[in-house]
């Protein structure tokens, strides 16, 4: 079971990132974080970017951790591939943070 979880680790990070971004988005809109300035941007967008970057970092960490296994068994190789897919999916899923209005 541990091997299967390790194999899915990159996608688990994507799932965490997706839930985190959606939760931060909802919470920020409900609490009015968009109206709180934080430098050049709002506290809401800052929180979202921070969460997004954190998850991308975690995904990269998983990929680095899986790097030695990239030429191992099929399960190991798949784990490494899925880690890369997880990072790419996290990056793409979070792009609307930079392009779309948050709360309307």
């Amino acid at each position: 079971m541990r091997a299967l979880v390790r194999m899915s680790a990159g996608l688990i990070v994507w799932a965490i990132a997706f839930c985190l971004l959606y939760a931060l988005h909802g919470l920020g809109c409900a609490r009015g974080w968009a109206t709180i300035r934080f430098g050049e941007t709002s506290a809401h967008q800052t929180a979202l970017i921070a969460g997004w970057l954190l998850c991308i970092g975690m995904g990269i960490g998983i990929a680095v951790w899986q790097w030695p296994a990239r030429s191992g068994t099929l399960v190991d190789r798949t784990g490494f591939r899925l880690a890369l897919i997880g990072v790419a999916a996290t990056a793409i899923t979070g792009l609307p943070i930079f392009t779309l209005p948050a709360c309307f």
Binding site: M1, S8, L11, W14, G26
Partner: protein
């Protein structure tokens, strides 16, 4: 002679009793699988007739064929039947029948659970059909959105029929998910490493995992809506802090993964059949595994794309739009792997191949319109039009029905042991293919011209008349095709000549046995050294029949198969499976009593049936196990292994892990609902919060700690520790009951209190279950079932007890916190 003797001995152990008793008590996976398939096809036929009635109504403008009340029932029942009573049970049946045979096992991990699933499916589905015949079928659309489905707008029992009937059927889906996952992970032939598994098993493993996490939100949503309708607790009523959007979230949290839950097993069938038809091996096995895993995860990030027009902020829509387009990539990886396989092989245009080509054409078109609908501005234009209906039919018929038809023709010789009689299948294909495209391609056009879904009539002035007429003609052409398919299958079953083994020259293990398959599958289990064992060893079936593999002898009348290490496929222990039993049908019958009592509004009688289920469950668990240690037993190939009663990491333990994962998902969905209402719904914060208290939370915490600590001190003679742990669970129950009764406002007053009461009910239910299991373990120690090396049951009880304690603490904190911080 040895093969014949072994066959006779194994048949005596594995066969059903004669007559009706044998039919009702059978737990054999081949029987149950075939029943699911036949049942699903029967429901498909009913759903198909409803579709023809819908098309008859829409064939001409201002039709008076049926009125709006009947029409609403027609489209609601068509959708509900096809999704819940056809698609999922059909693949469950195929999985139950094929998996043990492909994995090199003699049965699924929990034969009685398979049978329970079948009876729940049959009884639950029958409730819906009987309601339809009585004229009280659900009529609020297959996704039953409140407030339309609420008590105010649907005062009759129509919505209750859906909520209770479908929830009953979902029990079978949850049984299947646990069963499939554990069987794939543990019950394989020795040597079948996880990377040697047939791709069909990978697809089903992903599907089972998705079901474990995808179905609980819908089950929760249905429970909440039924409670709202029955008792007036306002989860979806905005005036009292509820939100209809909560239903949409819970429904589509299930509903979108559901599309992939349906597609993936069919894609597994494609990945199995296609290389055989192309006379080669599948290309890019590893990439396909990665694509399947990616789909299993990414498909959970799409649910809001069904809610693009509900007013959700743009950024949130962007997250889901991005995920919706991303999911096309792993799907495309599979399509390219299949094309590459065809390219590298020497394809034969046999009948299954013809249906696979139909799948390619239709599914790719459906996928392309899916990418269109994933883009928010387009979806906002096409939402709730016939374009969406056309898209979903292209995806589901293309992605499921065509592969299942290919699978039917591919595996029919296995089911029947017979050859085809006439060439009706080819004609059936062309009728279905042309009829389907005529029906649904036109619906893209009517949708783009603005025709809404679910309307029962339209004016000639709208300009949709000839397109609708062509759609209706196409639907009848398609129906003739399915009728011809049915006749073709019937002819093969009753008139076909006996077929030789492995007619397609396939490499997977299900063909390493006589056809139709004997009740025990393999006289002895194979040792596997590659992904296509029959290509490596073409006469494997004969060697296995002679008993030259694992477990090639009988003992004690036991139904035996092997459990292996999940990753390496090394043999681990001998699983002793239960025999035929009346327990599954009895459990389903008592459950039917519960659901019917709820439907009839007999709310005080309904819990008695649950007590009955508990009593049967006790008996069910009691019939497992042994009162003595056997030590290691010869398993063949010179290896001795312990029986499952003396092993650790048994299928029972893993089943509990997956059952608890599903239960925890339901609890997490409930917590999501609580947070969602608190942040999004109107009329929050609630007018009255829970009264501030320290007493009950302290009691709950004490009970949880007691349960967690005591259950760890339980040994083979630990009856006192078990009693203390049960005491802890009872303290937890008492604390939660007091919190709800004494401190929480009335659950009917506001969604806050209603949600809080359900959170408490979840924890109380699990603590009651844990206390019962602890009492059971105490009785098992007294009876001698637990003792010596037979400690597996204690590990399982500990799992459930820990989960109950954890859920109890979370529920208590969630209930008490608002009172403390207010």
């Amino acid at each position: 002679m040895k093969a014949l003797k072994l066959h006779q001995e194994l048949t005596a152990i594995w066969r059903n009793a004669p007559g009706w008793r044998g039919t009702l008590c059978s737990v054999n996976h081949s029987d149950i699988g075939k029943r699911f398939i036949v049942g699903a096809f029967a429901f498909f036929a009913i759903g198909g007739v409803l579709a023809m009635l819908i098309r008859a109504q829409l064939a001409t403008p201002a039709s008076a064929f049926v009125g709006p009340e009947v029409y609403n029932q027609l489209f609601t029942m068509h959708g509900s039947i096809m999704m819940f009573l056809f698609a999922i049970p059909m693949f469950e049946g195929l999985a139950l029948y094929l998996l043990p045979k492909m994995l090199g096992a003699r049965d699924m991990a929990y034969p009685r659970l398979s049978a329970l699933g079948w009876w729940c499916y049959l009884f639950g589905g029958s409730i819906l059909i009987v309601a339809m015949l009585a004229g009280v079928a659900p009529d609020a659309g297959w996704f039953l959105y409140p407030p339309l489905s609420g008590k105010q707008w649907t005062p009759g029992i129509n919505s209750d029929v859906w909520l209770l009937g479908i929830t009953f059927v979902e029990i079978s889906a949850m049984c299947a998910a646990i069963e499939i996952a554990v069987s794939i992970l543990r019950l394989r032939a020795p040597g079948m490493r996880i990377d040697r598994m047939p791709l069909f098993a990978w697809y089903l493993l992903a599907t089972a995992a998705m079901m474990l996490f995808g179905f609980p939100p819908l089950i929760l949503g249905s429970i909440l809506l039924e409670i709202e309708r029955a008792f007036g607790w306002p989860f979806y009523t905005p005036a009292l802090g509820g939100s209809p959007l909560l239903w949409q979230h819970l429904f589509w949290l299930f509903g979108h993964p559901e599309v992939y839950i349906i597609f993936l097993p069919a894609a597994g069938a494609v990945s199995t059949i296609l290389p055989v038809m192309a006379r080669t091996r599948i290309l890019a096995y590893g990439a396909l595994v990665a694509a399947v895993m990616a789909l299993a995860f990414l498909s959970f990030g799409l649910w809001v794309h069904h809610m693009f027009t509900t007013g959700i902020p743009h950024m949130a829509l962007g997250f889901f739009s991005a995920a919706s387009t991303l999911v096309a990539i792993p799907t495309a990886v599979q399509v390219f792997a299949w094309i590459g396989t065809l390219w590298s092989g020497r394809p034969q245009m046999k009948l299954p191949m013809l249906y696979l080509i139909g799948f390619f054409v239709v599914f790719v078109l459906g996928g392309l319109t899916g990418v269109m609908l994933a883009v928010v501005p387009f979806d906002q234009q096409a939402h709730d039009t016939a374009f969406v209906t056309a898209h979903l039919h292209y995806v589901l018929v293309g992605g499921f029905v065509f592969p299942m038809l290919a699978a039917a023709y591919y595996w029919l010789p296995h089911f029947t042991g017979r050859e085809r009689v006439m060439q009706l299948g080819e004609t059936a294909f062309w009728l279905i293919f042309v009829g389907f495209n005529l029906t649904f391609f036109m619906m893209h056009l009517t949708g783009l011209l603005g025709m809404p879904r679910r309307i029962d009539t339209y004016s000639d002035a709208m300009g949709w008349t000839w397109l609708n007429l062509l759609s209706s003609v196409g639907s009848f052409v398609m129906a003739f095709g399915f009728a011809l398919f049915t006749i073709d299958v019937g002819l093969q079953i009753w008139l076909g000549r006996h077929h030789r083994r492995n007619p397609w020259h396939a490499g997977t293990l299900e063909w390493a046995m006589a056809i139709p398959a004997p009740a025990y599958n393999f006289a002895s289990l194979p040792q596997v050294a590659g992904r296509d064992p029959l290509y490596d060893q073409p006469d494997l079936g004969v060697a296995l029949a002679r008993g030259e593999g694992w477990l090639g002898a009988t003992r004690h009348g036991w139904r035996e198969t092997l459990a292996v290490d999940m990753v390496t496929g090394e043999p681990d222990h001998i699983v002793i499976l239960p025999g035929n039993s009346w327990l599954p049908i009895a459990t389903a019958g008592v459950l039917a009593g519960f659901f019917l009592a709820m439907l009839a509004g007999l709310y005080w009688i309904a819990p008695l049936f649950l007590v009955g289920v508990g009593a049967i469950g006790w008996r069910w668990a009691w019939t497992n196990g042994a009162r003595e240690d056997y030590g290691t037993l010869p398993a063949g190939q010179g290896v001795a292994l312990p029986p499952s009663t003396e092993a650790l990491g048994t299928t029972g333990w893993w089943g509990s892990v997956f059952a608890l994962a599903a239960s925890a998902t339901l609890f997490a969905s409930l917590l999501f609902g609580y947070a969602f209402l608190w942040t999004v719904a109107p009329d929050w914060p609630p007018p009255q919060l829970i009264a501030r208290t320290v007493l009950e939370p302290s009691l709950a915490l004490l009970g949880a700690v007691l349960a967690i600590v005591a259950v760890r001190r339980v040994g083979p003679d630990g009856r006192t520790a078990l009693a203390v742990a049960a005491g802890g669970q009872i303290a937890l129950i008492l604390a939660l009951v007091l919190l709800v009764v004494l401190r929480l406002p009335s659950p009917a007053s506001h969604a806050y209190a209603a949600t809080g009461a359900v959170v408490a009910a979840y924890a109380i239910f699990h603590a009651t279950l844990a206390a019962t299991m602890l009492a059971f373990a105490r009785a098992r120690i007294a009876s001698g079932h637990i003792g010596g090396a037979r400690l597996g049951e204690l590990r399982i009880v500990r799992l459930w007890s820990d989960h109950a304690a954890g859920a109890g603490v979370v529920a208590t904190l969630l209930l008490a916190l608002p009172g403390w911080i207010a």
